[in-house]
């Protein structure tokens, strides 16, 4: 039972239930992402794990020791849990220098930790700014200081609350890679919260998708993208084309022809989702008129006019940009088609 275990957690603010019987386990060295739209209870779960919020229902253990159990009335205060929490707004102490911020949770008489701090400052390229104050730092520097401050006391569990949301898009990719490297080196059980699916897929060994206080799917990043368990997950990971209809002989009739709906009984109402990259140009097939065609760099954005009205969104990889107004033949990649009960 090493690492972080949250089991049967439910939580409500007044009448508003934000977590409903959620269980999460994070092994040492593993990075688990809680992914979901804003207000789905992700941050509350982190605060419960850190002990900053009182546990209402459920139990929490860290490295086998119970730190919180609502039924047994156990509530270890945050300062004795050995968790590092990195806040979305970083929460750097404005009256302390970079070095003092990072060393805040460590024992100044512990030479090993102090040496670790100095080494980390050097490796992270923060040595020159060690004496500076938080407000003089760039967003990326503040992020690194906050991360190092959380890691400096060598916690057993690291909690990251939207760690990249304060950065502009151009810096995000680089800081993400750095953070992943640092966290993996530390070998700590890490639970990260984000609302950005791309970020979650990049960072996580495992992703838990949350919606309205429930975990709706738990799996490896590729599994979530390729085999979403429900329409919510499919739509959360990227744009989709939606078609609705009744299942007849294991398929639904759509403007793109009959699409298979495995697992759905005949006569059921079905929702069929197709990712834009599931629409491919073909030598022969359904011919549609191109409404708009715009280059996106590695691929192009194509919007096609459907016969019964409405449009179909597609991504074509590379190649020459087809002209708007012309007609093009397309085919559907069945592997990018998902069918769910409507």
């Amino acid at each position: 039972m090493n690492g972080l275990h949250l089991s049967g957690i439910s939580h409500a603010f007044g009448a508003n239930r934000v977590l409903d019987d959620v269980s999460v386990a994070v092994a040492p060295g593993e990075l688990v992402c809680l992914l979901g739209p804003s207000g789905c209870g992700k941050t509350t779960l982190l605060r419960l794990a850190a002990g900053l919020e009182g546990l209402q229902t459920g139990a929490i253990s860290i490295d086998g020791a119970t730190v919180g159990d609502a039924a047994a009335g156990i509530a270890v205060p945050p300062e004795r849990r050995g968790v590092g929490l990195m806040f979305q707004d970083y929460a750097l102490f404005p009256h302390l220098s970079v070095r003092e911020n990072i060393a805040f949770g460590t024992d100044p008489r512990d030479p090993a930790r102090q040496a670790w701090i100095d080494g980390a400052l050097g490796r992270m390229g923060l040595a020159e700014i060690a004496g500076m104050y938080p407000h003089t730092l760039s967003g990326g520097q503040q992020q690194r200081v906050a991360l190092m401050r959380a890691l400096a006391p060598s916690p057993k569990v690291l909690l990251l609350d939207e760690p990249f949301s304060g950065l502009d898009v151009t810096r995000r990719a680089q800081v993400r890679a750095e953070t992943l490297k640092l966290v993996k080196e530390a070998g700590v059980a890490t639970l990260m919260v984000t609302h950005d699916p791309e970020e979650a897929m990049f960072m996580a060994d495992r992703i838990l998708v949350m919606d309205a206080g429930h975990v709706v799917q738990d799996g490896a990043p590729t599994a979530l993208y390729d085999a979403p368990a429900c329409a919510f997950v499919a739509e959360f990971f990227g744009p989709v084309n939606r078609f609705e209809g009744l299942v007849e002989d294991g398929a639904v009739a759509t403007p793109l022809g009959r699409l298979a709906t495995p697992g759905l009984p005949d006569g059921a109402a079905a929702l069929v989702l197709i990712r834009p990259e599931g629409i491919r140009p073909a030598a022969a097939g359904i011919e549609l008129e191109i409404e708009t065609a715009r280059p996106l760099g590695p691929s192009s954005y194509i919007s096609l006019r459907l016969p019964g009205g409405g449009t179909l969104e597609a991504r074509f990889a590379g190649g020459a940009l087809p002209a708007a107004g012309t007609r093009i033949a397309i085919e559907v990649d069945q592997g990018r088609v998902y069918a769910f009960p409507a």
């Binding site: 002990g51 900053l52 968790v83 806040f87 009256h95 949770g105 104050y133 407000h135 003089t136």
Partner: protein, 566 residues
């Protein structure tokens, strides 16, 4: 039983305040502040209606008319001067602009009664101005020429406007600085001139702030006793003193106070409404250097004169007159017990400011830690004292302290002891009055500085291994220290200047600098009290300096100062 058990676990249960130390404390503080106000209303309701009919048929109309005229005059005057000077120094370039940015705040250091004495001293028949005019034109008798009577309604409006406009200036300036220049530039590109942009964009955007400023001015106007008494302007406040001390009717005074309280509530209502309106200010996050329209030649000097005049009249004149009198009549000053008055003022102000700091800090933490609506409302009640005129508080404080005395002596009687008045006749009622009146100041500052410690900083400190007390010592205290000192200082200085409350609630034969100056100068003995008045003005300079530093740093986009490191 049924209803009680049904409540458990439902949202209704959380509406009931939990009895924590914060809830109880906030409730006590609110009661403590509300007590004098309730007392006033109760005395008024319990008083005989005959007195009320007498007042209503004789002086009430006059009081209403005088008070409204004074409020209208000073409100209009401070609006024009405060807004115009704020616009000039923030948006235009002219000789001396940088000096005026802070110098325009200086009159705030001069209590209006002190300016009233100085101006009267200069403008009366034997004063410098008329003497000089007579010498110039060869007049010899008062009948030879006409000269305006300064001790009048017009004089009171002029004097109060001159020392109170900085409230409007301060808030209007902050509002103009906060405005994104982009908004003004958009207005210019849409074809409006600079002047039209000011009227159609800048002024409406700053309006909530200006309204707040004018409301604060009006609260000061109805609080004033020294000026209206000396100028014989019969306002409500003057009336309360007259009915209480000369007609010896506390219920009559309480009845007048209750009517005035309605005005106060209206002012608070308008002020809070305007503050809420300030939220839609920041429509764009882009800030660039302010345009600074250059005013050259005669227009530049006109702007200089417009800014110089209020500073000269409101600060340079009183300060220099008082300084020269202090030097010339140094011996006379020391023949009165100047040192004793200073010590009395210090004792009162230090006790009140420390007490206000402790209570203000407690309330700030209560709101943060409990976060309940109940505590929030209690705190809001506890911080309305700033708007209540000293005269009303004086009426309301006296009775509860007398009541406390009776309880104390009753309790002592149970043990066979005889106990005289513990509170009445001591400085306790004065400190109580100060606390009620200035709590908002210390609470506001404590709340703002506590706001600098974000909840996630608390969380960070805890997860990094600090106990709650540890977080208080290593995060809260270092971050709040400076602001708390400022809070105590602001209350301290206001207590030093305070007159209407002190005048009534002070122990017999106990004088502070303010009461001493008021009594001596009212008797036309300004010379002997000049040093005392100068001391009050000197103390008043401190917050002005603090304010000018703050306002210089407050511009969005300006690089914040690095926190001091020891």
């Amino acid at each position: 039983m049924n209803t009680a058990s049904a409540r458990v676990g439902t949202p209704a249960a959380s509406l009931l305040p939990k009895l924590s130390i914060w809830t109880v404390g906030a409730l006590l503080a609110a009661l403590f502040v509300a007590l004098p106000l309730l007392t006033v209303v109760l005395i008024a309701l319990g008083g005989d209606t005959e007195m009320w009919h007498h007042l209503a048929s004789t002086v009430l109309g006059l009081y209403v008319e005088r008070t409204l005229t004074l409020m209208l005059g000073v409100g209009l005057g401070t609006f024009v001067i405060g807004t115009a000077t704020a616009w000039l120094v923030t948006m235009c370039r002219f000789p001396g602009r940088r000096v005026f940015e802070w110098a325009l705040l200086l009159p705030l250091a001069v209590p209006s009664y002190i300016l009233a004495f100085v101006v009267t001293d200069q403008l009366e028949y034997a004063g410098n101005v008329q003497t000089w005019l007579r010498a110039l034109f060869g007049w010899t008798r008062p009948q030879d020429y006409w000269f305006p009577e300064i001790r009048s309604m017009g004089g009171a409006i002029a004097v109060m406007t001159t020392v109170l406009y900085p409230y409007v200036y301060l808030l209007a300036r902050a509002a103009f600085l906060e405005q994104s220049v982009c908004v003004l530039e958009v207005s210019r590109t849409l074809g409006h001139s600079a002047w039209r942009s000011f009227r159609r964009v800048a002024l409406p955007l700053a309006r909530p702030a200006i309204v707040v400023g004018v409301m604060l001015v009006l609260m000061e106007v109805i609080n004033d006793f020294g000026t209206v008494d000396f100028f014989a302007v019969r306002t409500f406040t003057a009336g309360i003193y007259d009915v209480w001390l000369n007609m010896n009717s506390i219920s009559g005074a309480a009845q007048l106070s209750s009517v005035l309280l309605l005005v106060v509530l209206a002012l608070i209502g308008i002020e809070r409404f305007a503050r809420r309106g300030r939220r839609f200010h920041h429509t764009s996050s882009k800030y660039s250097a302010l345009p600074s329209y250059p005013l050259t030649g005669a227009r530049g000097w006109l702007a200089t004169a417009a800014c110089a005049l209020p500073v000269l009249l409101g600060f340079v004149l009183p300060a220099s007159v008082l300084a020269s009198y202090s030097l010339r009549y140094f011996r006379a000053t020391l023949s009165v017990d100047y040192i004793g008055f200073v010590l009395n003022s210090l004792t009162l102000s230090v006790s009140a400011s420390l007490l206000a700091l402790v209570v203000g800090l407690f309330l700030a933490y209560a709101v943060r830690l409990s976060g309940s609506h109940f505590v929030r409302s209690a705190t809001r009640i506890a911080s309305i004292g700033y708007a209540v005129p000293g005269a009303i508080l004086a009426v309301g404080v006296l009775w509860p302290t007398g009541f406390a005395d009776r309880i104390f002596s009753g309790a002592a009687g149970l043990f066979g002891l005889t106990l005289g008045a513990v509170m009445i006749g001591t400085i306790a009622p004065v400190v109580y009055g100060y606390l009620v009146r200035f709590l908002a100041l210390s609470y506001g500052t404590a709340e703002a500085s506590l706001g600098k410690v974000t909840p996630s900083m608390d969380g960070a400190a805890r997860t990094l291994g600090l106990t709650p007390m540890g977080a208080l010592a290593r995060v809260h205290y270092p971050l709040m220290r400076g602001s708390l000192a400022t809070a105590a200082l602001l209350v301290f200085v206001d207590c030093m200047k305070e007159l209407p409350l002190t005048l009534i609630l002070r122990p017999f034969n106990f004088d502070t600098l303010a009461t001493f100056v008021f009594q001596y100068a009212s008797d036309e003995r300004l010379e002997a009290s000049a040093l005392g008045a100068l001391t009050i003005v000197g103390a008043g300079i401190i917050p002005v300096l603090l304010l000018s530093v703050t306002i210089a740093r407050s511009r969005p986009g300006a690089s914040p100062e690095r926190p001091e490191k020891e």
